[in-house]
Symmetry: D2
Subunit: 418 residues, 4 copies
């Protein structure tokens, strides 16, 4: 990869993280509202540590602070012990300002390294740098979903960023279904551009004919599910899903309250009433599965989704941008095809997160990136309002446990073609 | 189905349950050693209730005891509330003897019903009767695995049944691999004979070329895994598997202790030293996956297993029989092909338990039989020493959570063909 | 102590245990419905073990079964490891019949020993034998409260023993208060007759003048507490009590349901409606304290209770007897003084269970009998319907944690004298 | 009380809180490391709220922020619902700076109110103001113990305040015992000066003759307890204490590690080696009780302690001061009597925390201050290094659960006089 483009990408991604954190006070950045979320400050530090650990340290660059390896390692067993995840919210030190210093120090070392390498060495290091940037973009999305969850715990209901109102008018494609003939398809990353190891190898799979709904399931559909007793009807649910819903007292998607036809929700932009035609978000897999059954359909498999998405334009749906002037959101309506394909909300697939045939994790510690999580999780596809644009591609595999609701997750329906 | 054959099958299966319970005292039959196991007495009563609920009651036959519907319903939401599963061990009443009375009363009603129906009505009821018998055979296996677990909690180490020693000499096929060319295969129940709804529909799937190991992973392999620190090496494990192993303090398969090359285990036949060449059992999916990685291989997918098993003779491996004279075990060695294919131990597959393309659960309450469990579980294939012969077929899908160890579960290795 | 009287006491107490267990099937005797309760069979075996461990074994008498020491030790650290308490319900072996054999074998050894000792040796062993009998009588009461709790978990609501109806008519003394002048009093066991170490030494204490209610708090009082929202009024409760009540969902005393003025309860004698004037039972300390506050009073301290009870006749209240013909209950009404002083229900005192000034536990393992439990528990005084008569004395100190409800516990009010 | 003295006291106490918080960053002030601890920022806000709720609001003064009543109520049910205690660490808003604004706004209103009241009204309000100041001083001590616990969770081991080294040389009184003749004593607050309601009424109690150790149990005593296996010897412990120690993995007092004779600990002043003659701190009641037994003694009752402390000079032991120049500590050695009586460490008493005879809580919400906690806790007496001087008096009753270790708690021995 060309040195200048690599540097430019590095700067752009790294700067975006700081812009996303900018609206947060030092105290906001310390919040950890559940073990599976992390403080914003920790996201900022961990993404810097990734470059230090996997790019700089192997090339002999001295670490900024010897203690940070322990504090900011997430889950890489191969590089040593780490601070327990549920205790990240107890790290008042280093302060948010000191984390900023750490990031700048790493950036300085990275720029110096990239400038100093010859072309061969640069080619060798580039894949890890690109992995680090993709990694940081994943944490950008998590930073937003995590602070959303943390703010939702506060009776003061803090607002992350006010934004101009986005109306859903004209977003919908008119409804209906897109049919796919099935047969022997190819899925997985085809080479060309960055991809995570779990997207490979590209491989063949057999599909029966199927249909996908043009639109995501809407707020009004979920309101109907609530109104008609969906949360109390075991016949609509997976057994563990219904147990979970009862144990957790679920009566609506996370952050939402439903009263008749009206649905209100706490968002990063404050409390608001949701538009009935807006895509529903923050549903667990269990809820997505139950709502699909309620609507007489099912969830798509990940192969179905990918086969249908190949060739579609990624500019669709509701997306959040971050500029020098602050946080902005935009909406790209679609006249045909699959609406909100890559924006708005991730869609749950009926597929368990497994290795592709012939999958082999990368050598070394970065081999822990994906493979060791391939159990008990479900694949999500597409991308949400919070997903960086570099992550919008047909082969991208996101994955979460089926009870997860704090991600921006929604539903696209599928059914067998007749 | 012919009336006489149906009656004969009914009597044979029902009697076998009572024979399996015969070595157990009334107190033994009350034991429930964990929420996911059930007392032997409860298995006996629940399998009778199944016929009462789904065959007799819909045809107007009066219930033996109105209270038993509540006590002995397992998980069918559609037929009403039920006694909480973890409390089954607190049901001292009805006594073991009264459960025997209940079974006999149901048998009398069933025989009377089957004798009284005309051929059309018989044809209508037969599938549910066969489902009830297959259901009862599943509980026969559970009765054995559950009492095994319960006895293992007692410092007195009770013996379920002494048996003549079985030697593994000559069981092994000589090792090595059986290769399959892959391509477009068909899997799923093909029609003809009973099958559960989750085995259908038969459908196509694409496979890359692969190999399966002729033998199951042996006791000596697991001893080596233990000896070389496998239980303390996170790089061999799925992340959740390693957490589980540490949290539970696993250091060997369930019931086993490893000291150097020697492996001792508590079995239904008492404490004994395991033969090094015997197949290893009572491993969780997490352990199976780690051991496979330790051995440089991987677990097969369920489609790989089924494609390879089609056409193989089910008479293979170690099996437990129950005769008028008591419990016996037998061993069918194999010279070639896949050894221990259907006996000895279930094998974990790398496949999450999902619906087949086009799957539709049966209408009514029996539709709850399988579909609502299709999340967070792994498919097992083959059959164990405890599996009734009627359950040994290529399309059979067993499923358990990945941390399950109290089932008789083992490992067959797979690898990509080169 | 005279040999014959010792033997006679031994036989009487030992036989009474078996009579109490007689109505229970082998399966009933295995039930353990919570960690702090024990199976009836275990009570029978443990009380035999006590004699074996502390009387027979130290004098060289061979143990009946070497494995029973581990199984039937309750909490004596000094005599070795023991089976974990919450797993007692998993001991299907030895069977109820084998426990009977064990008891008879111990009885034979005890009779032989007591017959063989000379008077000096007899005098030496007598205190431990008497301790063993007092210990067994405590377990007789526990056997009843534990099976009550276990039966209450069964939807079949088994009946321990039918009994002739007892009416409360004429039990009450007419209400009102008995006043005590306070001052320097003496409490604690005065010597003469058996007592536990925690009742000694007798010592002085200073009391301000106080009053005790003649009667126990009645069913109608608790019904009023329920009706007027007592379970939802934090101002009536200790803070931890209110938390406990909410966490456990308490809305009435254990086993009882209140509808308006009517109170129904599940008893050892079946479901029945409680008489409004009957003493209320199965209240935790937290509830007793809240009900007393609701009634404008407080609970007595243990010194107040004992000072007032000294000299009172122990024949009062409702008591359960066990004869050759089965279980019977009797009622001894009182015209004056403190009604139901020693029968019916234990009364909670406001006193934490602590060592008396100068208390020293006995030497050896039996020193673990009482002292090590002197924290986090409350003293109860009097005795219940289930308490053996040998335990009815002014100095007797019963103790339970403040959230305990499965004992037969009630309330006597106190207030400062003006 | 004289208006000027009240105002002066108000200003002194309120300012001291801010000085104690001054070394902490905004992020430090948000830390909540366990449910029973609170963030420093919360302590600052809650103590302001107390004046607003109980002094200002009842006199019609408008609240600074209507939402703060919900956020900063601790446990007063009578004044409305409150934010759940374990979630205090999730309140990033209001920020530490905004809490400072809140405190200043309350101070302004308080000064205005106190200036405006006539003498009658002032006399009426003064007791609540004094209660508020005593309350704030309690929180000053908690602020220190809570941040100590929070900092101990950080691998960076932050230092609250460096201080000049304090040597214990000359602190000890020479050891030995002080005898008290017992008899009828009077304890409880005698009137004159502020006291909490739980210190009243003054009342008589009977004591047998006893002795108290002149010195607190030392670091070297606890080191010996560790070295000789005290943490693994059930015979030294209360049963629940030993269970707790095993469940929590205790091997030394909190924050301390023992290696042979050397004891190191993490303190508010950093990691250091403890002097062998320094009083041991951060022991739970369970450990204090076990160590006393190990040393052949027992813990004193609270009446014994108070009877012995009456008339002693409160200037003794190690105390932390806070001045304009920062945090300082001082040491007042004693030649005779009871050393470290009111400084250094609270001492556990053998007394459960109960109401005194005739105790009646104050009317209204402040009546919840003490009474509702009178169960399951143990009384501590004296005062620690962190206790404000206004709290050092013979009748003061501190109380904590017996497993508490994060308070600065130690041991003074007692024994019966012969």
């Amino acid at each position: 990869m060309h040195r200048d483009r690599l540097l430019e990408a590095y700067r752009r991604v790294r700067e975006r993280t700081e812009r996303l954190a900018a609206p947060l006070s030092p105290e906001d950045q310390l919040l950890q509202s559940m073990p599976s979320a992390s403080p914003a400050k920790w996201h900022r530090a961990h993404t810097a540590w990734f470059f230090e650990e996997f790019v700089l340290a192997p090339r002999g660059v001295e670490r900024v602070d010897a203690r940070y390896g322990y504090l900011f390692n997430s889950y890489y067993d191969a590089v040593g012990p780490r601070h327990p995840r549920p205790s990240r919210g107890l790290l008042s030190r280093p302060t948010a300002a000191e984390v900023g210093d750490y990031r700048r120090a790493v950036d300085g070392r990275m720029e110096a390294l990239l400038a100093s390498l010859d072309d061969v060495a640069l080619a060798e290091v580039a894949p890890t740098v690109l992995l680090g940037l993709a990694h940081e973009e994943q944490h950008q999305e998590l930073l937003l979903t995590d602070i959303h969850h943390a703010f939702a715990q506060s009776p003061l209901r803090p607002v992350y960023a006010r934004e101009p109102a986005i109306t859903m008018a004209g977003v919908r494609s008119g409804g209906g279904w897109v049919e796919h003939p099935g047969g022997l398809v190819e899925v997985g990353h085809a080479g060309g551009g960055f991809a995570f190891d779990n997207e490979a190898p590209r491989h063949r799979a057999w599909l029966e004919p199927f249909c996908l709904s043009r639109d995501l399931v809407r707020v009004r559909d979920v309101a109907a599910f609530v109104r008609e007793g969906g949360y109390r009807s075991p016949s609509l649910w997976l057994s563990e899903g219904f147990e979970c819903a009862r144990a957790q007292g679920w009566e609506a998607p996370l952050y939402a309250t439903v009263e008749g036809d009206r649905v209100r929700a706490f968002t990063l932009h404050g409390e608001c009433e949701l538009e009935p035609d807006a895509p529903a978000t923050n549903l667990s897999y269990y809820e997505a599965d139950a709502v699909a059954r309620f609507l007489g359909s099912r969830l798509p498999t990940e192969v179905e989704w990918e086969a249908a998405a190949q060739g579609e334009n990624p500019d669709s749906g509701h997306q959040l941008d971050v500029t020098r002037d602050g946080v902005r959101s935009s909406l790209a309506p679609r006249a045909g095809g699959l609406a909100s394909l890559y924006g708005t909300a991730w869609v749950w697939t009926a597929s368990s997160y497994e290795a592709y045939p012939g999958f082999a994790p990368a050598a070394g510690a970065v081999g822990e990136y994906n493979g060791k999580f391939m159990v008990n999780q479900r694949v999500l596809r597409g991308g949400s309002m919070y997903t960086p644009r570099g992550h919008l591609r047909a082969s991208y595999r996101n994955f979460w446990h089926p009870d997860t609701r704090f991600q921006r997750t929604g539903v696209r329906l599928a059914r067998d073609a007749r």
